[in-house]
């Protein structure tokens, strides 16, 4: 019996000892833990934080898998989280729980507000004026198009001319009809119905919600109905390849020259180069039809459970200062959110994939003209509902009016819960 007791005791000792072994390396430095995802920040820059702030130790952790779920679980647990955390454009989902994060205005964010693009800055500010997240990068949009196909179809092919000739979505669709008439049924103007809907909304300052979270989708000032009608029109005119983004279908269609253009954010450059390497040199970027817009872009926030909010703020302020944003753009292609960084010559490098065009000219101009918009905590839910109905219209021939009614009915049910 004493033998068993000894074994158990030994087990207990081992278990408790291994539990606290992490605390042994004590030094006087303040340790700041940072959560981000691969390519969410510039690794080189993070490594140089300790050089810039000799008193701080930075414990940067790349969180793989479903980042948002892991963050939410940690927030729900109420402890054990990092000091600093990166957000993607779902920052707006965090607004109802803004009290879980430090109000960056209280930590001195007001002083640097003027350095940033206003519309991007506002995305991290709640309607009651709490700033929960500092901008990292942005996703200004442009029209990605195949210069060779446009030329073959007798359309303008130089980026400047395209920007001039295709100013509205109607212009764009008309060009698409001309293009498809000239090149035959194998080439489509653009990829899918959802991307038109998304891009029209991305150019608007009023989408689903007013700042008091009232649904305004039926109001003529909101872009919801306009985006819906344009998306349906493109589908009815047969301009869509019906290839959903992020799919092998999409990659194949682009690589096989079946999609002549699409409106997308600056980060689509990288996606495109990986998806369609065989079309290198044939792509150009012009200003998006219908106006400048934004898709995505990330943020940094400080958790309320952090014991060093001031130090954390110093660090994120430094990481996101205009100079470092330029470096980050060069290293990992994150498009700057600081107005001054947009002026850097590094952004205007000529790119081989785009036939030697400096696409930065288009995107910096686009970034300056995005309208500030309020998304609201339930943006993604509503967007999901509408997109499902649009998919039925484009892929199964559902009656668009019926689909619109169904979408509205579903949204109203959604808003009641």
């Amino acid at each position: 019996m004493t033998k068993i007791r000894f074994v158990l005791l030994a087990l207990v000792v081992i278990l408790t000892a291994s539990g606290c072994s992490t605390e042994t390396s004590a030094d006087k430095k303040t340790t700041l833990t940072l959560w981000y995802w691969n390519r969410g920040l510039d690794d080189k820059l993070i490594a140089s934080v300790e050089k810039q702030f000799p008193d701080f130790r930075i414990n940067a952790q790349k969180i793989g898998g479903d980042f948002k779920s892991k963050l939410k679980t940690t927030l729900a647990a109420g402890s054990g989280g990092p000091d600093i955390v990166a957000f993607n454009d779902w920052v707006t989902e965090m607004f109802p729980n803004a009290d879980r994060f430090y109000d960056l205005y209280e930590l001195g964010a007001k002083e640097i507000e003027k350095d940033y693009l206003d519309w991007k800055w506002q995305l991290g500010v709640t309607p009651d004026d709490k700033m929960i997240a500092l901008p990292i990068d942005t996703g200004p949009t442009g029209l990605f198009y195949r210069a060779d196909l446009f030329k073959k179809a007798g359309l303008p092919s130089d980026p400047g001319d395209v920007s001039q000739a295709i100013k509205t979505w109607e212009d764009y669709f008309a060009a698409g009809e001309k293009l498809q008439a000239a090149l035959g049924k194998d080439v489509k103007l653009t990829d899918n119905i959802g991307s038109i809907y998304t891009q029209v909304n991305a150019q608007s300052d009023k989408i689903y919600f007013s700042e008091d979270d009232a649904f305004i989708g039926e109001d003529p000032s909101s872009s919801m109905k306009k985006a819906w009608d344009l998306a349906v029109e493109a589908s009815e005119k047969g301009l869509l390849a019906n290839a959903n983004g992020n799919s092998s279908e999409w990659n194949a269609a682009l690589n096989n020259s079946k999609i002549a253009s699409f409106v997308g954010a600056v980060w689509n450059k990288e996606v495109l180069q990986q998806a369609a390497p065989e079309t290198a040199g044939k792509w150009r970027v012009a200003r998006a039809p219908g106006g400048d817009g934004n898709n995505g872009g990330s943020f940094l926030a400080i958790l309320k459970t952090s014991e060093h909010p001031k130090e954390a703020f110093e660090v994120i302020k430094w990481i996101q200062n205009p100079d470092n944003q330029v470096d980050t753009f060069v290293n990992v292609n994150l498009f700057p959110s600081a107005a001054k960084a947009l002026e850097a010559p590094e952004l205007l490098k000529e790119e081989e994939f785009f036939g030697g065009q400096a696409t930065g000219e288009v995107f910096t101009e686009s970034a300056r003209n995005v309208k500030p918009a309020y998304f609201g905590p339930k943006y993604a839910n509503l967007n999901g509902i509408v997109n499902r109905q649009l998919q039925s219209v484009a892929l199964q021939g559902k009656n668009p009016d019926q689909a619109w009614e169904d979408a509205l009915a579903r949204i109203k049910k959604e808003l009641l819960r």
């Binding site: 019996m1 939410k72 989902e93 965090m94 729980n97 092998s248 279908e249 993604a380 199964q396 819960r417």
Partner: protein
Amino acid sequence: MAEPLQTRTRLEPDLRTRQPERRRGLGSEIWKHRYEYLAISPFYLLFAVFGLFPIAFSMYLSFQRWDGIGEMTFNGVNNYRFMLTDVEFWKAVGNTLLIWVYSTVPMLFSALVVAFLLNASFVKFRTFFRIGYFLPNVTSLVAVAIIFSTLFSNNYGLLNYILTQSGLNAVEWLNKTWGIQLAVSLMVVWRWVGYNAVIYLAGLQSIPTVLYEAAKIDGASGIQSFFRITVPILRPIILFTVITSTIGGMQIFTEPQVLVGNDGGVSGGGLTIVLYLYREAFVNNYFGYGAAVGWGMFVLIALFSIVNWKLVQGKSDT
């Protein structure tokens, strides 16, 4: 009736003398064997933490409104009310049942045939085939789903390539409700045929060969002995596989999720109950509602199991 009473009276003095001893003894018995109890305690502790607590908590949660981070607010039966009146929930239930029927029936039938062949003496390299048929079961589901999505892909899929090469029209498989359900069902069939075949094989090997020999002498064909000897003797094993595939089929999630995404594809053809639960809780942030859906699913599986159980009872009576 007299028999049991008699035995009870016969036991009674015994019990009377033992009982006080036992009552006093229970605590000290446990104490006496405390190390043994301690040794088996990890299972119960783990079960309490990872089994019992989540079950109890999800019950509590299903009456709350919770976005996963902030304060929970009591919501009464609203989650359940929403669920029962939500067309998408009932659609998910319908989809799940359809996919279950499409997959389970052909799966169990082909498993039985495969097992019969694997057991047949005329097949060579039987061990190789046994491993071969079981292999799909240990393949990563995500990899399987990716392969199937390239098979069924609308423009560049293998199936459509074969169709167009043989002069037929391409089918937009993943844009049609039936196409999505077919693809998901095929994935289930592909993955579980070998698993069930192995179970059937174990059953087959317990059937005395003399039965087959006797049937052969009487002039029965292979098909006759399959349906007259194999199937009836395997009936309890078949019912076991039906019940396990029912539980598995009600919980189908990864196949449609990887194949057609969180919405279950166009018009939600692949939206199963668990996928719906996942979407509502983890994508749309209605955790209380997700918990309620989980309990709805529990009720459905329980109902199904009762039906199956009744079937087992009915069969064994005859």
